[in-house]
């Protein structure tokens, strides 16, 4: 059934279709409607789940960790400072190997106080062990949350679906909402190997001495390595069943390209238009959309960029003291190759500043007209 809904409600519908059993969240702009709608669904009985209101995001994550540990499917959603307040528990969820799925609305971090989109909040969680998938449309929000449980419950690691504040969270788009039976056929109930059980009591996550801790971390790393193929398979199966798939990354008009633009989130949609115009004007240029960020699909990136001479990475984030974070990752994925493209690092659209076709055209123009970047990181549209 198609409905015109906001991105936040696409997340709510997805959680409902996944038959989540426990939801705990604390409201924060721009995430609020996600859990507002879920709380209404719980109240009306439409969704048979326990909604746990809490006093902070730290407690919200703690509550879903507790819930997930008992073997139920748990969901939460947050944004920006909420996610940062969760940070300790974000680590705990991953270390506990709990397949929690979270909708994370990309919002800039204060101060200066700002509620608009950029990626610094989610990227600050890069090394926690959570998988991260950045999405481009409301349909992709819904589809990725459903895929997310499948991936997370297979590799036993948590996963966040990351969407841009307002451009997705509050923007209404037509979304195909699948039938419950279809989702049930795709996503079986969660059956954990270990769970908190009063009839078989064990304590979880106690002391791990140096003689085992490292092996546990190695297992987490192995799980995320495995997650690349699991995610690809989940996406492919989703495509066969629902007619929509996204890939871990998506190459757009990359065939025979000399130059590749790399984007994530909603800037991708704008970039597609610009690429079409430039292709029409005869430029050999293509687009690579980064969807899966953790685990980082290095092999795929290398594969997609084979033969490309220059790469322009559009970062809606800033790793202070280094540069755009996606650019760092792309460089890292490429640097051990004997033949590798030049990587241009562009930072734009921080704190919700618009990334317009002109912004992207300027980035491409700069890349086309330069053999090497003049500086490590180029700030686009800076008012100086």
């Amino acid at each position: 059934m198609k409905k015109v809904i906001m991105g936040n409600h696409a997340a709510s519908y997805a959680a409902k279709l996944c038959r989540v059993q426990v939801i705990s969240a604390y409201p924060i702009t721009p995430q609020t409607q996600v859990v507002e709608m879920l709380s209404e669904m719980c109240a009306s009985g439409e969704l048979k789940a326990k909604f746990i209101p809490v006093e902070s995001e730290h407690s919200a994550m703690a509550a879903v960790i507790g819930a997930s540990a008992t073997g139920v499917r748990a969901f939460t959603a947050t944004s920006s400072h909420g996610l940062l307040l969760m940070h300790e528990m974000v680590h705990w969820a991953a270390g506990s190997r709990l397949p929690i799925v979270m909708a994370e609305i990309n919002r800039a971090v204060g101060p200066g106080w700002n509620i608009w989109t950029d990626q610094n909040d989610s990227l600050a969680q890069r090394d926690t062990g959570w998988m991260q998938i950045y999405v481009e449309s409301n349909q992709e929000v819904l589809d990725t949350i459903i895929q997310g449980y499948k991936i997370a419950e297979t590799v036993l690691m948590p996963l966040m679906v990351v969407l841009d504040a307002f451009y997705l969270s509050h923007t209404y788009e037509p979304v195909d909402i699948p039938e419950q039976e279809e989702v049930d056929a795709y996503l079986p109930p969660y059956r954990p190997q270990y769970k908190l059980d009063v009839n078989d009591p064990h304590a979880f996550n106690g002391l791990a001495m140096p003689d085992v801790y490292m092996e546990m971390r190695w297992k987490m790393q192995a799980a995320l390595e495995q997650a690349k193929s699991v995610a690809a398979a989940a996406d492919a199966e989703f495509g066969r069943q629902f007619g929509r798939s996204y890939g871990l990354v998506e190459g757009y008009r990359l065939d025979g390209a000399d130059v590749a633009l790399i984007t994530s989130g909603t800037a991708t949609s704008t970039a597609r238009e610009v690429i079409d115009d430039l292709r029409a004007a005869g430029h050999k240029i293509g687009l690579l959309k980064m969807r899966l960020f953790r685990p980082f699909p290095s092999e795929l990136v290398r594969e997609k960029l084979a033969g490309v001479r220059k790469v322009a990475v559009l970062d809606r984030n800033i790793g202070f003291g280094m540069g755009g974070i996606f650019a760092q990752e792309i460089k890292a994925a490429l640097c051990n190759q004997a033949s590798r493209p030049i990587v241009f690092d562009y930072v734009a659209g921080l704190g919700g500043r618009d990334i317009t076709p002109q912004t992207i055209a300027a980035i491409v123009q700069h890349t086309l007209t330069h053999d090497q970047p003049e500086v490590e990181t180029t700030w686009v549209g800076l008012k100086r």
Binding site: R97, P201, H202, F204, N205, V212, M216, A222
Partner: protein
């Protein structure tokens, strides 16, 4: 460390840490240096009730719609819930902690609902009050007023046969001949007295001690005597003209009305006084068609009458002149034509704690009136008492249990010095005397008095309470009020009583709200299969969250005492 464990394969490597079995062996209670204990306090309402009603207890039952149980609990302390639910000055509500939060609980109205509920159940046969096997009469009670009947009731409940001697042709004392029917319908009073008689208490009407039977005879026939003959003699104003026809004693006026006479009033009535008798006289005179003015020598703040009574009198068109004292009855042709009054001002507080009225020289003025009702107080007739029973100007001298200086002679109600002249104080004094007489008859020791610990407002956790408006009781429309003696206050419905009872904080008393159970981070609060909870001290770490989050101060934290 680090080299001892070898994993044969990746599959052997753990992906999380997990204990092999339960961790219950780890008795974390040993970490504790303070412990929580369930300890109920006395709610301020219970403490303030002169009859000692377990108010929080019956409100809790009303919440659960267990009306019969609530009525029974209420009657453990007071045989007159339907009466008190109408005429009590409800000191419980004055002390209600909710009064400091939004509005005091409508305890008085719930009490009346329960009283009426019980009477209806008994009348319909749905509820049969338990019978009591009594001894041969061994206690004589003088006076069938609230004190005497309360005493008789509590004695009968303890198995003692009781005979009550009443001078008037009706039982009830001031309840019958003092309080007008629009406040206390006669059938309600009769029904509650009927339940006391049903216990086996005998009431001998028209039997005045000292006239129809001597005190000495009672001393001979009974092992103990309880004197509760009340205060029916009107206090005189002591002003010139007081003997004139048209100057009426307040108690006499109300007694006439109660016994079915209708005093003919023609023209304005001035009621002198500011107590409940004054209000009763004024409102009754309004119902007989007269314009009424109350003259009171202090201000409203010092008036002893119940606030609602003053409000109702004003609403019914009674005028009140404050700071006005009577000086002289103005008489023409042997009839009252007016009252000369003097304006007063307030000075320093007197022995009663109220500010004393001081005359303003040269401020005399005249109020025209055809009738003057003196309602400035009542006193007792103590002429029938034997030697050896000490009295003062305020009545018979008694101790806390109502025992007089005469052996086996007890006293309570208006006749006893130190008992406030109020219905519920009389009922309370009757109850305390019954307990003392019971001990006297059994030659038992008095229990040690324990100072109760009151759950004060400051000890509540107000985070758990939201403001809720008090349920208002409906009243008879004004037009019908002054034209009849029909009851003014119409009572709560069951739904209203429940709604009001739900406002109760249950101060100091656990009402099984589950907060401690939900908050305990160590799962060390167990629900008992019966009522309530218990702490599992094997695992309670003494963090104190349960006590902190208890909304009603029913959990104490005590220092842990350890041996060795």
């Amino acid at each position: 460390m680090g080299d001892r464990i070898i994993f044969a394969s990746e599959a052997e490597m753990p992906y999380l840490t997990m204990s092999l079995g339960t961790t219950l062996y780890n008795k974390t209670g040993t970490w504790r240096y303070v412990r929580p204990v369930y300890h109920d306090k006395t709610p301020p309402c219970n403490h303030a009730c002169p009859a000692g009603e377990k108010i929080q207890g019956y409100l809790d039952l009303v919440k659960d719609e267990r009306y019969a149980a609530a009525w029974a609990l209420l009657r453990e302390d007071n045989p007159f819930p339907a009466v008190c639910g109408r005429v009590c000055y409800h000191p419980c509500e004055q002390s209600c902690n909710r009064g400091q939060f939004d509005t005091a609980l409508g305890i008085h109205n719930v009490e009346r609902f329960l009283g009426d509920y019980g009477l209806e159940m008994v009348a319909s046969g749905a509820l049969i009050p338990p019978a009591q096997k009594l001894s041969a009469p061994r206690v004589a009670v003088i006076g069938a007023g609230p004190a005497g009947l309360s005493c008789a009731y509590h004695l009968a409940r303890r198995g003692h046969g009781v005979t009550v001697f009443e001078a008037l042709p009706v039982a009830g004392g001031m309840l019958a001949v003092g309080i007008p029917a629009y406040r206390l319908p006669k059938d309600v009073l009769r029904a509650e007295i009927g339940l006391i008689e049903a216990l086996g208490v005998t009431i001998k009407l028209n039997t005045r001690v000292g006239v129809d039977v001597t005190f000495a005879q009672l001393r001979q026939d009974y092992q103990a005597v309880f004197v509760a003959s009340g205060a029916h003699r009107n206090v005189r104003m002591n002003i010139p003209g007081e003997e004139t026809r048209g100057v009426i004693p307040g108690t006499g006026f109300l007694r006439q009305l109660a016994l079915g006479e209708k005093p003919a009033l023609h023209g304005r009535v001035i009621v002198v006084g500011g107590g409940n008798t004054a209000m009763d006289c004024a409102r009754s005179a309004r119902r007989l068609g007269a314009p009424v003015t109350i003259a009171y020598r202090r201000t409203r703040a010092e008036m002893p009458a119940i606030d609602e009574e003053i409000d109702d009198a004003l609403a019914e068109g009674v005028d009140i002149l404050y700071l006005t004292a009577p000086r002289r009855v103005i008489v023409e042709d042997g009839r009252v034509v007016g009252l000369q009054c003097q304006k007063m001002r307030l000075g320093e507080p007197d022995a009663s704690g109220r500010r004393q009225p001081i005359p303003i020289e040269g401020s005399d003025f005249v109020l025209e009136a055809k009738h003057i009702i003196a309602a400035i107080g009542q006193e007792s007739d103590l002429s029938f008492l034997p030697e050896g029973v000490h009295t003062t100007s305020r009545g018979i001298v008694v101790d806390g249990g109502g025992e007089t200086t005469g052996v086996g002679i007890f006293a309570g109600g208006d006749v006893a010095a130190g008992v406030a002249q109020r219905v519920v104080d009389a009922i309370g004094s009757g109850k305390r005397a019954a307990l003392a007489i019971d001990r006297y008859l059994r030659q038992a020791e008095a229990p040690v008095e324990v100072e109760p610990e009151i759950a004060s407002f400051e000890t509540l956790n107000l985070d758990y309470f939201a403001p809720v408006e008090r349920v208002t009781m409906s009243q008879l429309p004004m037009a019908q009020r002054v034209s009849s003696f029909g009851e003014v206050n119409l009572g709560y419905t069951a739904a209203q009583a429940v709604t009001e009872a739900e406002r109760c904080f249950s101060c100091g008393v656990c009402n099984r709200c589950d907060n401690c159970y939900l908050f305990c981070p160590d799962v060390a609060v167990h629900k008992l299969s019966a009522d309530g909870y218990e702490f599992d001290y094997d695992y309670c770490k003494g963090c104190g969250i349960c006590a902190e989050e208890c909304p009603r101060n029913a959990i104490d934290i005590e220092e842990e005492l350890r041996g060795g």
